[in-house]
């Protein structure tokens, strides 16, 4: 039978499109339908559970610089957070990665400036970290759900395997809580503090505090909370009326960063310290 070239090309084109389409559909179906069945998974009995994990920070308990260093190091060391420095030993502000760190009052709460405030108060350091917002802008913008809000406990989590490194979340976060791996972090990880039980990240993905989900899963408090001076940091379930954090937030004066943006941060800062617990 004879067929002209045009018809041949049409048939070839349609068959390839159908073939490609079928294989793409097959692959997508495979990706979406695999997964572990409920009889294949279990939870550690010691795991800590909550409906809404939240944190209260009492800055009055942090008296020396060493107090901050201890908290930041606890987190950064167990999570293999790299320490980027410039050739002259200063912090490399371009490449730096930080999950929890200290900022002065005027930077932690930019809208609350008071020009007549005492200098020492303006310079007062505050611990800042990801706020694990109730209405997170970063989750709203992520095109792959690489950052997502856990349904059961409200933690804003990072899936390092899915992140495409578009950094939309970094643009969206109103608190500057996120860091990006501009290059391979491994050379900048201090080998003295390497934690072989936790992965590193690779270049090209965003990272941030995860409220230590891996520790919560085995019944431990987040590393920063454990390393904080006594009464400095509280961590618990805001939906549990008996939890420390709920009681503090209910009875004492606390502030959150940029609450007017509607993000609903879960990190509360206690005002007017004094001895509590």
């Amino acid at each position: 039978m004879s067929m002209d070239r045009r018809k041949f090309l049409k048939i070839a084109g349609i068959s390839s499109v159908l073939g490609l389409g079928a294989s793409v559909a097959q692959a997508t179906h495979n990706i979406w339908s695999k997964g572990l069945g409920p009889d294949q998974v279990a939870q550690n009995s010691k795991a800590l559970k909550a409906k809404h994990w939240a944190m209260v920070i009492d800055m009055s308990k942090f008296r020396t610089d060493a107090d901050f260093r201890k908290v930041a190091d606890a987190c950064h060391h167990i999570h293999n957070v790299p320490n980027f420095k410039t050739p002259d030993g200063k912090v490399d502000i371009k490449n730096e990665i930080k999950w929890i760190w200290k900022e002065t009052y005027e930077h932690a709460f930019p809208q609350q400036e008071n020009p007549y405030m005492e200098e020492s108060l303006k310079e007062k350091p505050f611990l800042v970290l990801c706020n694990h917002c109730e209405n997170p802008a970063c989750v709203r913008v992520c095109p792959t759900k690489a950052t997502f809000k856990r349904q059961d406990d409200g933690i804003v989590m990072m899936d390092m395997h899915r992140c495409i490194g578009c950094r939309f979340c970094m643009a969206a976060c109103p608190y500057g809580a996120r860091s990006f791996n501009w290059t391979d972090p491994r050379p900048a990880i201090d080998p003295r503090f390497e934690n072989r039980e936790y992965p590193t990240r690779t270049k090209g993905v965003v990272e941030k505090c995860t409220f230590c989900t891996e520790r919560l899963a085995v019944g431990k408090m987040p590393a920063c909370v454990e390393a904080a001076p006594k009464g400095g940091m509280f961590f618990g379930d805001l939906e549990n009326h008996n939890s420390e954090v709920r009681k503090i937030v209910k009875t004492r004066l606390t502030v959150r960063r940029k609450p007017e943006l509607g993000t609903g941060p879960s990190v509360y800062y206690l005002i007017g310290g004094k001895d509590h617990a």
């Binding site: 371009k94 501009w182 270049k203």
Partner: protein, 390 residues
């Protein structure tokens, strides 16, 4: 019809080789970036989007501007645009390809880019951007190719192409609206958090894109036997004038809201860009140049006496294009990141590698544009004297 791009004068081949060299240089530098990471650019924790995203933003506008020829010709039967709508559509193709390339080179994990399709996330504006840009690319390739193909045969295009042409009109508006939404919905970045962001984007798009078209039309007239015609170019000039007026007006509106309200969050980015903040004045010369060029070009475009003289029109078009390239392709993006969310001034400047990669992407775009224009011009030269019926 692609065979038309395979024959050309010595100048044509020199131009194509020049672009090819720049593409290879860009590719080589991209491989370096792929190996080292995005740290090879000037980006950092505080300014995490820069040249690449800025160029993408600017070029989406250029791509959308094809609609400024499509609407008069197909909706309002403005026959003067008959021979040059194809130039707008092919420019859109080249521009969208550049947009997608700029996004690709900006990704930290480009090999995972398909995750956006495998895990669709309708609440993410970037998901929609991906879709609408791809759709617009396909639309313009199909529309452009089919119409120029039927022009070559001297027949009206097939009826089924009309719905696609009509679809491309709202679609063009959508690509730039969605791109504006990337910025305009982010809480905390008050420089971008403005309702008229999308309107500003569209106005600057409809000024910059057609300006480029004027320049391209003049180049086509000079280097080929196809003359787009004095009147179509004048008509585009009028469109550019109105669009640029709207653009400058909208920028004025932003300035008013920021400075009349005196709210620091709204003012600080403008101050950084145009005056300098905490001693950082890196962008001030560029931004002031952008303003001067904007005023000069708008001034020239508003007077028909000046617009009618093609040399002056070309000058105004170039000045406008550069002005908006600075404003949208650079200033707008960086302004959103300075000061950062902790009110600190941390600045950004692209590196040489970054610039070469960007230049490589522009060269790919111009390469595509050259090939497509060679085809279109080839058909027009072939069918000179034949009336177009669309």
């Amino acid at each position: 019809m692609l065979e038309k791009a395979l024959v050309g004068s010595k100048k044509y081949w020199m131009w194509v080789s020049f672009l090819g060299t720049l593409i290879l240089v860009g590719l080589f530098n991209y491989l370096r970036q792929f190996s080292y990471g995005l740290g090879i650019t000037g980006l950092g924790r505080d300014v995490s989007w820069g040249l690449y995203i800025g160029q993408f933003t600017f070029l989406v506008g250029v791509a959308a501007s094809a609609v400024m020829l499509v609407i008069p010709y197909y909706l309002h039967d403005f026959k003067k645009f008959g021979k040059i709508v194809i130039l707008g559509e092919f420019l859109a193709v080249a521009a969208v390809i550049m947009c997608q390339l700029f996004i690709f080179v900006d990704m930290g994990q480009p090999m995972r880019v398909l995750n956006v399709m495998l895990h669709p996330t309708p609440n993410s504006v970037m998901f929609w951007d991906f879709l609408v840009l791809t759709g617009y690319l396909v639309l313009n390739i199909v529309i452009g190719w089919v119409t120029i193909g039927s022009d070559r045969k001297g027949v009206p295009p097939p009826k089924w192409i009309k719905p696609f042409i009509y679809l491309s009109i709202p679609w063009a508006v959508s690509i730039h609206t969605v791109t504006a939404f990337l910025f305009a919905g982010l809480p905390g970045r008050h420089f971008w958090l403005s309702a008229i962001m999308a309107a500003r984007f569209l106005a600057s798009a409809f000024a910059a894109g057609p300006s480029l078209l004027i320049i391209l039309a003049l180049i086509v007239r000079k280097t080929t036997k196809f003359d787009p015609g004095k009147e179509p170019i004048q008509a585009i000039g009028k469109i550019v004038a109105y669009a640029m007026f709207a653009n400058v007006f909208f920028l004025g509106l932003e300035f008013f809201t920021a400075f009349y309200s005196q709210i620091p969050g709204h003012m600080e980015s403008f101050i950084y860009l145009y005056k300098g903040l905490e001693g950082h004045t890196e962008l001030v010369p560029l931004m002031r140049l952008s303003s001067v060029l904007a005023v000069v070009s708008l001034g020239m475009l508003l007077f028909p006496g000046i617009r009618k003289r093609e040399g002056l029109l070309a000058f105004a078009a170039v000045a406008l294009f550069i002005s908006l390239w600075i404003d949208k392709g650079f200033g707008l993006i960086i302004g959103g990141f300075v000061p950062n969310m902790l009110n600190q001034v941390r600045t950004y400047w692209p590196t040489v590698t970054e610039g070469l990669i960007a230049l490589g992407v522009w060269s790919v775009g111009f390469f595509v544009l050259t090939v497509l224009y060679k085809v279109a011009v080839g058909v027009r030269e072939e069918t000179a004297g034949v009336e177009i019926e669309h």
